[in-house]
Symmetry: none
Subunit: 234 residues, 2 copies
């Protein structure tokens, strides 16, 4: 809804954040209701970029959090907003473009979308009354981002990992390549389990935080396998 986007822009602007990316907004874009609700946060609305898919929206990023209402156990590391923002600040200071995924107003992020993120951030809300809307979730993360910046200024508490993860775009191309190689090898059976198997593989291989050279190495491995399989078929 345009109103939600406007409220999100306004929450961001309060804490000096301005890089808003929208994935397939329901009511199209630009949206006059978004602008009206944004109050004076026109600069955020004007600079917002629209993407067809979550993959495209995060393609240039190297570390991404997914926000979820409840921890989804045994899935990916789950952090609080403060830990997450400390990590984002440290990676950002190390020159790594980072981002936070927020889900739809009514049903959040799908498992596939969460699967694209490196870690999960969840809010310490009362489990018997969890009712944050998207603009409130954005507000809390924006506030923590500012707070983490102040803490970081106070001294280098967190050190960023040395080798930066590959851009998501590279990683996604590797996934697509892997899945096509595995299709060729008839790995996915029965076919109706393909989605689940793909999601599992993507999750575990995202967790690994592979660097650009590492993703290149993996692509090389796949090429050798592809070549071997093609040769046998000819």
């Amino acid at each position: 809804m345009g109103e939600n986007i406007g409220m999100v822009a306004r929450a961001m602007a309060n804490f000096s954040l301005a890089d808003l990316r929208l994935v397939a907004p329901r009511d199209g874009w630009p949206n006059e209701k978004a602008r009206a609700t944004a109050s004076r946060a026109d600069h955020v609305i004007d600079a917002a970029r629209v993407f067809d898919t979550v993959e495209a929206a995060i393609a240039d990023l190297r570390f991404v959090y997914a926000t979820t209402a409840r921890p989804r156990e045994g899935y990916k590391p789950v952090r609080g907003p403060d830990e997450a923002c400390a990590t984002l600040r440290a990676r950002s200071a190390a020159g790594q473009p980072t981002g936070i995924l927020f889900g739809r107003e009514r049903f959040g992020l799908s498992n596939e979308e969460v699967g694209l993120a490196d870690e999960i951030v969840t809010f310490p809300v009362d489990p018997t009354f969890a009712s944050l809307n998207i603009a409130q979730a954005v507000l809390l993360m924006s506030y923590e981002w500012t707070r983490a910046g102040r803490d970081a200024d106070a001294g280098p508490r967190f050190s960023a990992p040395e080798a930066p993860p590959a851009p998501k775009d590279d990683l996604h191309r590797f996934f697509t390549h892997l899945e096509s190689t595995l299709d060729e090898a008839s790995y996915f059976h029965p076919p109706e389990k393909r989605d689940v198997l793909v999601a599992n593989l993507r999750t575990m291989l995202t967790k690994a935080g592979f660097t650009e050279p590492e993703v290149r190495t993996l692509r090389g491995v796949l090429k050798a396998l592809d070549y071997r399989m093609a040769k046998e078929t000819r």
Copy 2:
């Protein structure tokens, strides 16, 4: 406005707060719009008490913060939300009833009202874009109250589902399997570089910290590839 009161109740309920005190609400009380906007926070709405004056509303409290959009200099001590909530937690733990004053949606608290508080709390918002509504201010303070409680407990913070990595033995068997599959696919060339390539692969796949089920999945992938290559050779 009833809607603002409802959103405030909802923000509080997310963080298990329930003692809402209203001073001379514009549209009277009870208010159906407040209840509708509160979502499921009926218990906060039902327990809300109405007072004619701020003095009466805080009469039984022993320490009160006033929230203001901008620090009013030279006036009273000005704290950030984190400092303020640490203070409120400490006083509360010492048995002192405490409270936080929030102003009207459009023009906040009057100087007289701020004068009734012990200290001021203000939000670290961008000075060029300060536009928090009352429910957002309540949300941030409620969040900090929860956060300060957790810090005070100094117990386990957000616990991540840290699934233990697979036993090294499993991992090494996977390595051996992978390398034999890659030998079969003629990946290692020239042969004198095999040791270096093997070491690189082992390093990056060790770094990933795969769990036992993940290693099993990877073994399944290799089996599918082996089978596919063997079939072609037969």
